[in-house]
Symmetry: C2
Subunit: 531 residues, 2 copies
């Protein structure tokens, strides 16, 4: 018997045969992402709790069998459930789905990796909580912990999500456990509310890494504001993007805008409103310029379209902030509109007059079901169906199942007009050269940083497209890194795409890996930069 | 020749004899802290740049001689320049004092460890910058990097300072180097503005640790506000502290107050205003209750006295925030006063009427020279001279030189009235039992966490006091940790004071140390928890 067989036997005897999944259909689903993935998965383990996760890892360690953890496996556009390397057994943490602690006064929850955005939202709603978590644009069924460990991007006050978590309970590849911060001490009152603890701060080691499996995490929440305003703005000319970005940076730095938001190019907006206009384009791709222009007019969309939110503690506070935003953004935008709950609750002629030509249903859905007020929504997933010929499902979208082709290339750039324009141009040129539309969002995640997210969207059911899209992805990554804009996050195909470090990072990271995973069994190749 | 002699010879040949200090007077100064320290220092090295720091460490590594880095050595109350263990050669980084980069638009500077609060402040003033760094209450001559690596506390918007830095250039004990975040890549535009980079986030490893020497760091700065308000509030009864803390938490969580601030007990305030009233107390210690009451009346001080700042982008914005604060804090305080630049610039009858009985000079100095607007000041150091019999110097205070006895015990607690009252009671009882006044500040550093800082202040020139104060410090640490409030930071005497972890933290940390410092030469015993 080889190592894998020994390990499988041990896992079956520890977890039960039901929780060591090896049927072809299940494995085939797990091997399917939003792009081509040749990796094979010998089995999927389904531990029920931390002790079983420890057992899974001890067995992997003993028999030197590589394993790859997933939370809910919705890492769409970055690899879904598929391990970076071939032959890894997947550890599916979906059954660890408890909300372990909840404190309304101190505004936190402690969750396990199977807890989804939707589950937390419904939990808080059911309790009449005044708290919310800045949601992401991904599916409501995505894992909170999974996204945060990838240092994913929310929208709203705690958009840079990893900045607002603590007390990670981690199982190391050896089966050892660790709770970060003050959590290592008995009855530490500050464990859920202090990020650092005493001694080295270790949480970061377990983000974008293959050094441990996080089985619990405390997430901080934000109180719902007294007054919420959403505002939309647009520029009709690429040349106006730079000044807009610079004005927004000032609003962020001075604390007028205190939350993460996105500026989308026209194609990004179209792809959320409709599928590719196959008939009007007479089947041709990429989108002809005249048709792109027509779609902008049809939907009342600018070249670049931004959103933003105000969180105010009183009417006067909201008005004061709104005045500053109007004064600053008015001169650098071609349109600027505000909406608040009072107006949104009485959608009559007043609303129609304020948003001439807009689809009011879409507008109001976007207003109420907004990640900036903590509501997870499927509405941003629709973009993945842009190039599909069959209609997208109204809900329950599943990009892996539906053959939606999606690669994310997401370089980080300074929150600076000139830089952002340059990155956007590079991404646009390269995407178009491969026959795709530039589908670009500017994720304005913090005061100084913008993660520019470019999506390569295609139909996996069209022969040759997997190869062409992969080539486009590699070209995009190469262009932006050569220009000095490195991705903030990597998909499975990106793990070997970065240039070597100019310092001793490679050997240092290798020694940390060796210290925590001496047999190298956890997620080999994942954010593992040996040079 | 022993290892130390070999190493000294190698250091002299690399740095020059001038920069390997071994004269008795210098070593004796370096061995002096604000409490008794038996550790002896064989030499002080003074490298000029990163290459020399690398050389210092390679030699230490080769000859297995323990070394201990200091930035400017002003870690007062926690050990000053003195290594945790006996026989360590000190590496003084004071000559690395360049401000390497400065960006007014993106609001950051990159500094070396010798750069002080004063130096950065003067640098920004000289350039007419609109930016500031939330200052600490320590000396203007303290190192920025040294404080941040201890995860020290500023006051103002970026009070939790380690949250607002990135791109650490680190020299490992092996002599290898690493720049964290995107800094490991050539020409990475996001290096100074993105905290995380791509791959595991490593910065935390080099805070409160002995794993590397940081030779550069990028610090983020805040724009000066359009309108600045300072406000002061007090409660006259210990029982009112809890409700005040709860009200302040809501102001923090809802973003009305966006900056770190301190609430001080009466003794903390007195100790900044005057020295111990030896004559009135007829030489007796601790401070008799009647005299404490008299001092409160004399200075117009409450049992607990808080400050706070508003940063507004317009007059209307400031007024809106002020109204919310007045509505929320009015009912839970016995006094509440605001001051803004307009009133402070015309200090006439208006000011006197608003602050009846106050010393207007002290008030205005506190207003203008305030760490919450980025002005480093010596005013909070005066407390360390409280028990001295000779007058304190008007400026150039040096606690080591002047025999000021000072221990900090600084447990972290939830931002919650009941918790804070409990910690304050524990600290008060224990301090008084050892014959000292409870000198307590509540460092409200973030939305959910308060670091309660208790100072044991004594006169090192009085026989027996070093021993008594140390016993008091150990008793304080024992009491608070037993009650579940663990210190956020440790002095040299505290490194072995914590209970063992309930998980596998000890062996895991030991393996990380082994991976980065195989010969164990860097700062042995510093935040090194083996059990």
């Amino acid at each position: 018997m080889n190592n894998l067989s020994h390990a499988l036997q041990a896992w079956v005897s520890r977890l039960g045969a039901d929780c060591v999944v090896t049927d072809e259909a299940s494995l085939s689903r797990a091997e399917t992402a939003t792009y081509a993935t040749p990796q094979r998965i010998p089995a999927v383990l389904r531990p029920a709790d931390r002790a079983e996760v420890q057992a899974c890892l001890r067995i992997a360690h003993e028999y030197r069998v590589p394993v790859y953890p997933i939370s809910t496996g919705k890492n769409w556009g970055y690899g879904s459930r598929v391990p970076v390397q071939d032959g890894c057994v997947v550890i599916d943490l979906g059954r660890l789905n408890r909300i372990v602690a909840y404190d309304e006064a101190l505004a936190y929850v402690t969750v396990e990796p199977g807890v989804t955005q939707r589950q937390l939202y419904e939990f808080l709603q059911a309790r009449g909580s005044r708290l919310f978590l800045s949601a992401t644009g991904s599916t409501p069924d995505s894992s909170l912990i999974g996204n945060i460990l990838e240092r994913g991007l929310g929208e709203g006050p705690y958009g840079d999500r990893f900045s607002y978590v603590c007390a990670l309970e981690v199982v190391l590849p050896t089966g050892e456990t660790l709770t970060t911060g003050f959590g290592r001490f008995p009855s530490a009152h500050a464990a859920p509310i202090n990020r650092w603890g005493v001694g080295p701060y270790l949480d970061g080691l377990f983000t974008q890494s293959n050094l441990g499996i996080v089985t619990q995490m405390t997430l901080w929440l934000t109180p719902l504001p007294h007054t919420f305003h959403l505002f939309w703005y647009a520029v009709d000319d690429d040349a106006r993007l730079g000044p807009l970005v610079d004005a927004l940076r000032e609003l962020r730095l001075t604390g007028v805008v205190q939350s993460a938001f996105v500026i989308a190019n026209d194609v990004r907006v179209f792809s959320n409103l409709q599928q590719y206009p196959w008939a009007a384009a007479d089947g041709a791709t990429p989108l002809p310029p005249a048709l792109r222009e027509a779609l902008r007019r049809q939907h009342g969309v600018g070249r670049w379209n931004g959103e933003g939110a105000l969180y105010a503690v009183s009417e006067a506070h909201g008005q004061a902030l709104r005045q500053v935003i109007e004064a600053r953004l008015g001169p650098v935008t071609d349109s600027l509109h505000f909406l608040d709950d009072a107006v949104a609750r009485q959608p009559g002629p007043q609303l129609a007059a304020a948003f001439p030509g807009a689809d009011l249903d879409t507008l109001l859905t976007g207003y109420w079901d907004n990640p900036k007020r903590g509501v997870p929504t499927e509405q941003f997933l629709r973009m993945a169906y842009w190039r599909k010929r069959n209609p997208r499902p109204a809900q329950g979208m599943d990009l892996d199942r539906d053959g939606c082709g999606l690669f994310w290339c997401a370089p980080a750039a300074p929150f600076d007009g000139a830089h952002v324009q340059r990155v956007a141009s590079l991404l646009t040129e390269t995407t178009e050269a491969y026959g795709y539309e530039p589908n670009i969002g500017l994720n304005c995640i913090s005061e100084r940083n913008i993660n520019v997210t470019a999506a390569v969207i295609y139909d996996r059911d069209v022969a040759g497209e997997d190869e062409r899209a992969l080539a486009c992805y590699h070209a995009l990554t190469g262009r932006v890194t050569q220009a000095g804009y490195y991705p903030y996050r990597l998909g499975t195909h990106g793990m070997t795409s970065l240039p070597p470090a100019q310092d001793d990072y490679g050997p240092i990271l290798a020694r940390l890996k060796q210290a925590l995973d001496p047999n190298g069994v956890l997620a080999p190749g994942r954010y593992e930069f040996s040079t």
